[in-house]
Amino acid sequence: MVTNKLNLPKEKIDRARELAKNICAPVLDFIDAHTTVTVERATLRLLGADGVSTEGAPVPNLVVDALRDKMSEGAAVWYANALVQTGLEQGELDRRIAEGFNIATLPMGDRQKAKELAAALARRQFSRIDANRAYRESKLEEFKGRSHSPLLYLIVATGNIYEDVKQAQAAALAGADVIAVIRTTAQSLLDYVPYGPTTEGFGGTYATQENFRIMRQALDEVMEREQRYIYQTNYASGLCMPEIAAMGALERLDMMLNDSMYGILFRDINMYRTFVDQRFSRMINAYSGIIINTGEDNYLTTSDAFEKAYTVLASQFLNERFAYAAGLKPWQMGLGHAFEMDPSIENGILYELAQAQMAREIFPEHPLKYMPPTKHMSGDIFKGLVMDNMFNFVSKATGQGIHLLGMLTEAIHTPFMMDRHIAVETALYVMNGIESIMDEIEFRPDGLIVRRAHEVLDRTLGFMEEVERIGLMESIEKAMFADISRSRTGGKGFEGIVEKGEGYFNPVESMLERSLGLA
């Protein structure tokens, strides 16, 4: 239970939410009027389109590329039309497409019939997603009380899915609740999703549907052995944000890294593109019961964590607003923040405590994803381990929800198996040792910790007021977030945005909006 220790004024928090609403409104208008190539591809995936050409081009890409000039109508109707017109079974049609068959060469037949078929196809995939969600919920119920609090989150990043599986199983056996497979370095910039099981990646493993499936199976195995649900995580992020959300829904992932602005700032992806994509991907996540993890922590790797703490809080409000607009519930919003202050700051750990407690009290129902020190980690693994330990302490002491375990080798390499082992065992030690601390400790009402939290909230309001004044997009142009400037029409993926036409049809979108109560 979240108690009030900081005495933050409710009016100010409400005011911030109101500002977030105002800031996001014009962006949401733009989003409503547009689709993108990857939104269409995600739609096709949720109609069941599957397969890949011998050159590795996925069927959804081949279809959307072929329909480039028909995009404003939506790809779904044309894909369904091809099924109607050719009379082929879906798998067979996909195979032909993979071999080079261009469905755009087929004339539109009975549009209504095509639409109905498309909707039926979507319903088939949705029932698979429903089953996944029901299965997850039943397992969570069955193994209730067995997960750690906060959930212990570990990454694997070997580049090879089979190696990942070994490490993920070891990590879960050691005590991890959540396993995230880090993606290969450049995947976020690919405008397609690779296919099949993969064994080659730099600093991470390709996110493919088959890799998702392989990992899911491995984690389910450990789940039964440990009688503890093991959450699987990947990245609905980058140029294929919605498609990966779709894949995750189909393979029962449980969490997705998914931020409304991360791609813009940290991957130089076009902002219009990102905004449209994030909405669609989030509706899929919302529907499939997936928890999103937002990326505010990244800001602190380029900005100073002490000085720019307010940008993190501001971004949490914006991410929250965008998430509501996509139908996500608070329990699905793993808003990001991080323990990234310079370790030499006097009382720095107390300021971290203030920041974490503040987030906890402002977002009481949200799981909150708390990230470990990374920027100030160094080759000094011993000091690093102790910094991670204080991070573990603060996380438990403030009741964070999703706890990304820090690695003592953060500044050196992607985690070795032994690094993870050390991370889990030391976290379990401290968290067990202070199990009830949240109920035990109070803060002096006029002390440093309380004052700091109030100050950050005040600064956030000032900052958000400025963003409201000049607009979110211009604020990004002015490097107000993460000290990074991005231009409106610059960045990758700009060309993939399309204005929706009069007759735009997307059965997946409609079903999502309807069931999420957004229509």
Binding site: E163, Q167, G379, I381, F382, A411, I412, H413, F416
Partner: protein, 246 residues
């Protein structure tokens, strides 16, 4: 065919190892290179000095990650003892003594020399035991005499003779300058000088004692870190029966 194993970082056979050490040189770019070269001298390749910190004007601390191609053949590795041989429980041991020996087994133990660490030998011998494993005093069919710490080898042997012990337990915790090896060796030499080595089952124990080390010095067995009373008792009673001691 040999089954070669190597250290594992995040990929099979990558050979990754973490090291830390100090060198008696001032920190700086030469020191960094010295640390790297010394790691290479151990046969590591890709030695990366990831951290260097001065500890004084003359000493520097390093953390290194490196990779090795050395491997060893797993099939040729023999453990200190056979993990698959499980010890008997206290009840089983008592029953075993009743059935096969028919009288109480007398065990005398101490931490010898200047070594003042009683906790280890107490863990094995005292009623209370250790980690929810009762000690030998609790065993109905064992008569256990724990002489405590800082006991001279002579005193321990005299006591064992006087009480007609079946087994003598010697604990050694301090290992600095190999004082444990000296103490244990002296113990065996004293017994041998008296022609009484064969009279007792002799067991050494302590956090840095292995079965191999103890055997080399002339003990019947050695027990290290994490030993419980039942491990020792099982060994003693089986050995007694096996050797026909009654």
């Amino acid at each position: 065919m040999a089954h070669i194993i190597r250290p594992y970082g995040d990929t099979m056979d990558d050979g990754k190892v973490q090291l830390s050490f100090s060198l008696p040189v001032p920190a700086g770019s030469r020191a960094l290179e010295a640390a790297r070269r010394i790691a290479l001298a151990w046969g590591f390749h890709e030695a990366e000095v990831v951290h260097m910190a001065p500890m004084s004007d003359e000493f520097t601390f390093f953390v290194v990650y490196a990779a090795t191609q050395h491997g060893i053949d797993w099939d040729t590795v023999e453990g200190d003892r056979d993990d698959s041989e499980k010890p008997m429980t206290m009840d089983e041991i008592n029953a075993f003594i009743r059935a096969h020996i028919g009288r109480k087994v007398v065990v005398v133990g101490a931490c010898t020399g200047f070594d003042a660490h009683t906790v280890g030998i107490d863990a094995i011998m005292n009623m209370k035991g250790y980690n929810h494993h009762y000690g030998l005093e609790r065993y109905e069919m064992i008569e256990a005499h724990n002489l405590g710490a800082q006991v001279p080898n002579e005193t321990l042997i005299d006591y064992a003779e006087a009480h007609n012990a079946d087994a003598i337990l010697v604990s050694q915790v301090v290992t600095q300058k190999n004082s444990h090896v000296h103490n244990l060796t002296e113990f065996i030499e004293l017994l041998e000088a008296k022609g009484e080595r064969g009279r007792f089952i002799c067991i050494a124990g302590g956090p840095r004692i292995s079965n191999k080390l103890a055997a080399k010095i002339g003990f019947d067995a050695g027990f290290g870190h994490g030993t419980y009373a039942e491990d020792v008792a099982t060994f003693i009673v089986k050995k007694m029966v096996q050797e026909g001691r009654k």
